[in-house]
C-alpha cells in the first residue's frame, strides 16, 4: 500500500480523537456542570416522602370516660403507576377483596389513569380478605397493606351531634387551607371535631423512603413520627347524657306511637352559674362511626334526605318560637320598667280585645284573679298581653337581646344559628307590614316571628336562675397534651340582664309554682325542688306539619333554692301541651344530675353503656329486628310520676308487641291505646298534687346508698 493510504489511517486516528474529545466534554458538562441539578432529579426519583397520619386527640367527658378514641384501620393500596398490567392486576385484587362490580369499574378507571397516588383497593376487610391480600402484598409490586388510625366511638351514637364526625378533606377546604392539609387528610366535619380541629388533628409525620422503580419502598431513610393531636376534656357528663338521651328517646317513642310520625327533640342540660354544658341531646341522631372509615355517598344522601333530619343538631341549629317560655323575659322587662308592683294582681277573663282582634288565653274560660307568680305558674296569656302592650315590642326585644336572643350564644360548636329577634324595622323589611299592637301582644308570649334555639333558652333560664347572669355555654373545659394541660377554659359571664333583684326572686317563685300547682306538676317530686316553665308553640298546618301539631317546651332549673342545673327540653311537632311530655324528660335529667352531683368525691365513676345501635340508613328494617327496639313498647318499668294513672294512662303493651311492623303502618293511630291525652291536659293544672307518691325513686339507684349506711 502506498503512503497515501497510510495517511488515511491518520485521519481515522484523528476522527477517533475528535469523538473522544467530544465525549469527554459531554461528560464534563453532565457531571461537573449539571451534576447538582441532575443529582437532585435523581433524588426526586428515588426518594419519596410519604405522610404518616397523626392520630387525632381523644375526647373525654368530665369524669374521664372516653367518648372518642382511635383504632387501627387496615387499608390495602396499590401504586397503579408501577403495574405492567393495571387492569388485570386490579381485577385480581378486586376478586381477592370481594368488591362489587361498580367499585371494580371505578378502580380500573383510576388504574388506567396511572396516577402517582396510591389507589385504595379496599378499606373494609374481613379476616379472610385480609389474609388473602396480605399474601398478595408480596406478590404484586407496589401494593401495600397500610394501617391508619381512625375514629372509634366506644359509646356509639351517644352525644353524636356534640362530638361530630370526621371525613376526608374536600377540595374547597384544601384550596383554602393554605397548605395546612394535603389531599387524603382527614378533618373534622362537624361538632367538636370541626370546631376543635386545630387541637385535635396533631401534626402528621413523614416517612422518607427509598423506592425502587416500581415505587415499592426498599429502605427507610428517615422517619418523622407523627405527634398525636391534643385531647379534649369536656364539660359533658356521659352518664347524664345517657339519661337525657334515653329519656328523650322514650318520650319520642311515645310521641311516635301517638302521632304516627318520627319527630325530633332536644335536651340541653347546662350548669346555670358556669355555662358548662352537662348534656346536649338532639334526637334522632346517627352513629358517628359510620363516618370514621369514610361513608358512601349513597348512605350520606339517605341521611341528608331523612325528613327527621338526624344530622341536624337541633340544640343550636334548630330555631323555634319560644312560646310561653318567653314569658320569663317579658317578666324581667316588666320588672325592670317597674310595671309590676309588689302587690300587683292580674285579672284574666279568657281573652283580651286588642283593636278588632280578640286575643285568647290558652284557658278559654279565663284564670280569674292572679298574682304575678300565678300568671307564670298557670301560664296566663292575657296577663302578658297586657304587659306586652305596656312594654311594647321594642322594649321586650331589648330585654331579649340582653338575655342573648337574636345572637349566637358563642358555644364552641359549629353551626350555631342566631334565631330571629324581630323588631319594627325587620317586619317592615321582611313582611312588608307595619308593627301592630297585636305584634306586641304576640311577642310578649313568645309567638309570632320570634325564634330561638334550645341552647339560647338554656342561657335565658340560667340567667333567671342566677339573678341575671348571661353565661357563654361551653363544652371543652381542658385541652390536654398527654398528661399535660395545655389550656383550661374558664366560665364566662357575658353580661348581666338589667332587672331588680326582686324580679329574679319572683320569677323563680313563679316557676316553682308552675311545678307545684301550675302547668308542670309532673316535675313535682319530693327528692328535688324543680322549678320550670312550660311552653307550647301553636302551629298552623303546613306541608312540613300537616296536622299542625304543637311544639312543646319545658325550661327548668333545680334545686329551687340554689339553682345548679338548667335543663331545657324541646319536642318538635309533639302535639299536646308542654306540661305533658316535655316535663317528665326534664325531671328525669334533673333527678339524675341531682344524684350524680351528690356522689361523694372519691366514688367510683360508673361506666356508661352505649345506647342501642342505630340501624344504618339504607339497611332494610325487618319486622323481626325492630329499628329502635323500644319505640313501640311503652315504658315497661317507668318510674312513678310519669304514670299518674288518672291523667295519662300508658298505652298497653299487648297490641303493640303483636304488631310486627309499626314502621310503615301507622295503624296504632286508628285505635289509640287508652284515653286521648291530647284533649285533656287542661285538667292537669286544676288537679292539685296527686297523692304523695311513696317512692318516686328509680328502682336501681335507691338501694345503692343503703348498703353503705348500715
Amino acid at each position: 500500500m502506498t503512503l497515501a493510504y497510510t495517511r488515511r489511517l491518520g485521519w481515522l486516528y484523528r476522527c477517533l480523537l475528535l469523538v473522544f474529545a467530544l465525549l469527554a466534554l459531554r461528560l464534563l458538562y453532565l457531571q461537573a456542570w449539571r451534576g447538582q441539578v441532575l443529582g437532585a432529579m435523581a433524588q426526586e426519583n428515588v426518594v419519596r416522602s410519604l405522610p404518616v397520619p397523626a392520630p387525632r386527640g381523644n375526647v373525654y367527658d368530665c369524669r374521664g370516660r372516653v367518648l372518642v378514641r382511635n383504632r387501627a384501620h387496615l387499608v390495602f393500596t396499590i401504586m397503579a403507576a408501577s403495574l405492567n398490567d393495571p387492569t388485570g392486576t386490579v381485577r385480581e385484587l378486586t376478586r381477592l377483596a370481594e368488591l362489587k362490580p361498580a367499585q371494580v369499574r371505578e378502580l380500573v378507571r383510576k388504574a388506567q389513569a396511572a396516577s402517582i397516588e396510591p389507589l385504595v383497593v379496599s378499606d373494609r376487610l374481613n379476616p379472610r380478605q385480609l389474609a388473602r391480600l396480605a399474601e398478595a402484598q408480596g406478590r404484586i409490586p407496589g401494593s401495600r397493606l397500610e394501617v391508619f388510625p381512625i375514629r372509634d366511638y366506644p359509646l356509639g351514637s351517644l352525644a353524636c351531634h356534640v362530638l361530630g364526625q370526621v371525613g376526608e378533606v374536600d377540595e374547597l377546604t384544601l384550596s383554602q387551607s393554605n397548605r395546612k392539609y394535603e389531599p387524603g387528610d382527614w378533618v373534622g366535619k362537624d361538632g367538636l371535631e370541626a370546631s376543635w380541629e386545630d387541637d385535635l388533628r396533631g401534626v402528621s409525620g413523614r416517612r422518607v423512603v427509598l423506592v425502587d422503580v416500581s415505587g415499592r419502598p426498599v429502605q427507610e431513610l428517615e422517619e418523622i413520627t407523627p405527634s398525636p393531636g391534643r385531647d379534649l376534656v369536656l364539660t359533658l357528663d356521659a352518664e347524664l347524657q345517657k339519661v337525657a338521651e334515653d329519656s328523650l328517646q322514650q318520650a319520642l317513642n311515645e310521641l311516635r306511637w301517638r302521632n304516627g310520625e318520627r319527630t325530633g327533640g332536644v335536651v340541653v342540660a347546662m350548669e346555670a352559674r358556669t355555662g358548662k354544658v352537662r348534656a346536649m341531646a338532639s334526637l334522632p341522631g346517627y352513629d358517628p362511626g359510620w363516618f370514621a372509615g369514610g361513608i358512601s355517598s349513597r348512605r350520606f344522601t339517605l341521611l341528608l334526605r331523612d325528613p327527621a333530619a338526624p344530622l341536624l343538631n337541633r340544640a343550636l341549629s334548630g330555631t323555634y318560637p319560644p312560646a310561653s317560655t318567653f314569658k320569663l323575659i317579658t317578666s324581667a322587662a316588666a320588672f325592670a320598667e317597674g310595671l309590676i308592683k309588689p302587690d300587683a294582681r292580674f285579672y284574666c277573663q279568657g281573652m283580651l280585645q286588642i283593636g278588632e282582634v280578640p286575643f285568647n288565653c290558652f284557658v278559654r274560660s279565663g284564670h280569674g284573679w292572679l298574682s304575678f307568680e300565678d300568671t307564670l305558674a298557670h301560664s296566663c296569656d292575657v296577663a302578658y298581653y297586657g304587659l306586652g302592650l305596656k312594654l311594647t315590642g321594642k322594649r321586650i326585644g331589648q330585654s331579649a337581646s340582653e338575655f342573648g336572643l337574636g345572637a349566637p350564644t358563642g358555644v364552641d360548636l359549629p353551626g350555631e344559628v342566631s334565631g330571629n329577634l324581630p323588631d319594627e324595622k325587620w317586619k317592615v323589611k321582611q313582611v312588608r307590614e307595619k308593627w301592630y299592637a297585636g305584634d306586641d301582644a304576640n311577642m310578649s308570649i313568645g309567638q309570632g316571628f320570634l325564634t330561638v334555639t334550645p341552647l339560647q333558652m338554656a342561657v335565658v333560664t340560667a340567667a333567671v336562675a342566677t339573678d341575671g347572669g348571661v353565661v357563654r355555654p361551653y363544652l371543652v373545659q381542658q385541652v390536654k397534651d398527654g398528661e399535660k394541660t395545655v389550656r383550661s377554659l374558664e366560665p364566662q359571664v357575658v353580661r348581666y340582664v338589667n332587672a331588680p333583684l326582686v324580679a329574679w326572686k319572683r320569677i323563680r317563685a313563679g316557676m316553682r309554682g308552675a311545678v307545684q300547682y301550675g302547668t308542670s306538676v309532673r316535675a313535682n317530686i319530693w327528692e328535688l325542688e324543680i322549678a320550670g316553665k312550660t311552653g307550647t308553640v301553636e302551629n298552623l298546618p303546613s306541608t312540613d306539619n300537616p296536622e299542625g301539631r304543637n311544639h312543646t317546651w319545658f325550661v327548668s332549673f333545680a334545686p329551687y333554692q340554689q339553682p345548679d342545673l338548667v335543663v331545657v327540653v324541646f319536642l318538635e311537632k309533639s302535639g299536646g301541651y308542654g306540661g305533658e311530655v316535655a316535663v317528665p324528660v326534664a325531671r328525669d335529667v334533673q333527678l339524675a344530675w341531682h344524684r350524680i352531683a351528690r356522689r361523694p368525691p372519691g366514688a367510683k365513676v360508673p361506666d356508661v353503656k352505649a345506647p342501642p345501635r342505630i340501624p344504618q340508613p339504607g339497611s332494610v328494617a325487618r319486622p323481626g329486628r325492630a329499628v329502635q327496639p323500644t319505640w313501640s313498647r311503652p315504658a315497661p318499668a317507668r318510674p312513678v310520676p310519669r304514670s299518674i294513672p288518672s291523667v295519662v294512662p300508658e298505652p298497653e303493651p299487648e297490641p303493640v308487641v303483636t304488631e310486627p311492623e309499626p314502621l310503615l303502618e301507622p295503624t296504632p293511630l286508628d285505635e289509640p291505646p287508652v284515653g286521648e291525652p291530647v284533649t285533656e291536659p287542661a285538667s292537669e293544672p286544676v288537679e292539685p298534687e296527686p297523692e304523695p307518691e311513696p317512692a318516686p325513686v328509680e328502682p336501681e339507684p335507691a338501694p345503692a346508698p343503703a348498703p353503705e349506711q348500715p
Binding site: 457531571q31 461537573a32 441532575l38 428515588v46
Partner: protein, 367 residues
C-alpha cells in the same frame, strides 16, 4: 511498553470494569447468574483470542470463506428459526448452553472477509469496491432483517473504515453514504423513527420513549465528580435505568464512579483503540486491514454507545464493547483483540526496523 502489552492490559481492564458494572447493575435483582455467565463467556473468548493470536495468517485466509459462509448460514437460520425477544429475532438456541447471537461474530467475520477480499481486489478500483459492498450488503440485510439495525450499522461502519484505509475513492464512499442514508429513511421502522424523534426532542414523552434517555442522563449526571460509590447509586441499584447491564451499562460507571471513573474508562478505551491503530500503522496490507477493521468495529460501537447514553445520538441498540452483558459479543471482541495482538507479535521485528522512532512520535499526532 510494548504495544501488545498495552492492548492486552487496557482490554483486560475494560473487561474488569465491565464485570463490576454487571455485578452492580444486576445486584438489585438479586442474582449473580448473569455475572457468572459473562465470566464463562470471557474465559471462552480469552482462549479463542489466544488461539487466534497463534494462528498463521495463511491459515486464517484459508478459513475466511468457510467461516464467512457459516456466519451467513447461521444468520439465515436465525431468520427462520431464531428465538425472539423484544420484537426481534436475534438469537439461536443452543439447548443447555444458552443462546448465541450470530450477528455478533458476523462483525469479525466481515472484517476477515473484507481484508481478504481487498488484498485480492484492490478497493480503489470499482470492481473491488463493488465486491466489498456486495459482501457487506449481504450481511447487513440479513442482520437488519432480524431486525437489528444497530449491528447492521456496525457492519456498514466497518466496511466504510476498511475501504477508506484500503484507498477507495472518497467520491464513491460519499456516494454510498448519501445513497444509504436515503434508503434508510424508507427502511426505518416506526419505533426507530420514534427513537430519532425522541433524540431530537427528549422531553416529548418523558414516561415513554424518552424515559430511558432521561433516566440515563440523570444517572450519569448525578454521579457528579467522584460518583456515589460502587453499589451505592440509587438509580442503578433500584432499577430506574432500563437495560443498564447491556446498552446503558455506562450509566453505572457514570453514577457510581462519577466523572473520575468515566474519564478513566474513556482513557482506557482510548489506549485500547490507540494501540489497535498503532498496530495497523506499522503493519502492511492484510494485517493492516485486519487491525483497522477491528479498531473501527470496536471504536464505532464504543462511540455510538457512549454518545447514545449521554444523549448525543439517538437510542440504537449497540452495546459497549467488553462492558455490556452479552456472551456472543464478548467472545467476538476478545477473539478480535487476540487476533490483532497476534498481528502485533508477528509484525514487531519488521516494523521496528522500518520505524526507528518510539511509538508516540510515530503516530501522526500533528497530522
Amino acid at each position: 511498553m510494548k504495544t501488545r502489552t498495552l492492548l492486552f492490559s487496557s482490554s483486560l481492564a475494560i473487561w474488569l470494569v465491565g464485570c463490576l458494572v454487571l455485578f452492580s447493575a444486576t445486584r438489585w435483582q438479586g442474582g449473580t447468574g448473569l455475572l457468572l455467565r459473562q465470566l464463562a463467556a470471557g474465559a471462552v473468548g480469552l482462549s479463542l483470542g489466544l488461539a487466534l493470536a497463534q494462528l498463521e495468517l495463511k491459515r486464517l485466509r484459508q478459513l475466511t470463506w468457510p467461516l464467512f459462509g457459516a456466519g451467513l448460514c447461521s444468520l439465515a437460520v436465525v431468520l427462520v428459526a431464531g428465538t425472539s425477544a423484544k420484537g426481534a429475532q436475534r438469537w439461536l438456541s443452543l439447548g443447555p448452553l444458552g443462546t448465541i447471537q450470530p450477528s455478533e461474530p458476523m462483525k469479525l467475520l466481515l472484517v476477515l472477509a473484507l481484508a481478504h477480499l481487498m488484498t485480492r481486489f484492490p478497493a480503489r478500483r470499482a470492481g473491488g469496491f463493488l465486491l466489498a459492498w456486495v459482501l457487506t450488503g449481504g450481511a447487513f440485510l440479513m442482520v437488519a432483517a432480524q431486525p437489528d439495525l444497530g449491528t447492521g450499522l456496525v457492519l456498514v461502519a466497518v466496511a466504510f473504515g476498511m475501504l477508506w484505509v484500503a484507498g477507495a475513492s472518497p467520491f464513491y464512499l460519499a456516494g454510498v453514504a448519501v445513497g444509504g442514508l436515503g434508503a434508510l429513511t424508507f427502511v426505518l421502522k416506526e419505533y426507530q423513527r420514534d427513537r430519532i424523534m425522541v433524540f431530537l426532542h427528549p422531553d416529548l414523552d418523558p414516561m415513554g420513549q424518552g424515559y430511558s434517555l432521561m433516566q440515563s442522563l440523570t444517572a450519569i449526571g448525578s454521579g457528579q465528580l467522584f460518583g456515589r460509590g460502587l453499589l451505592a447509586g440509587h438509580l442503578t441499584q433500584q432499577g430506574f435505568v432500563p437495560e443498564n447491564w447491556t446498552d446503558f451499562a455506562f450509566t453505572v460507571v457514570g453514577e457510581e464512579l462519577g466523572l473520575a471513573g468515566s474519564l478513566g474508562l474513556l482513557l482506557l478505551c482510548a489506549l485500547q483503540l490507540g494501540s489497535l491503530l498503532a498496530i495497523a500503522w506499522r503493519s502492511q496490507d492484510y494485517p493492516r486491514l485486519l487491525a483497522t477493521g477491528v479498531a473501527v468495529m470496536l471504536g464505532f460501537q464504543l462511540s455510538v454507545n457512549l454518545a447514545m447514553t449521554m444523549g448525543l445520538a439517538p437510542v440504537v441498540g449497540i452495546p459497549l464493547p467488553l462492558v455490556s452483558y452479552g456472551g456472543s459479543a464478548l467472545i467476538t471482541n476478545l477473539a478480535a483483540l487476540g487476533l490483532v495482538a497476534g498481528l502485533a507479535r508477528r509484525s514487531q521485528p519488521r516494523q521496528a526496523a522500518m520505524h526507528p522512532l518510539p511509538l508516540r512520535q510515530r503516530l501522526p499526532l500533528a497530522g
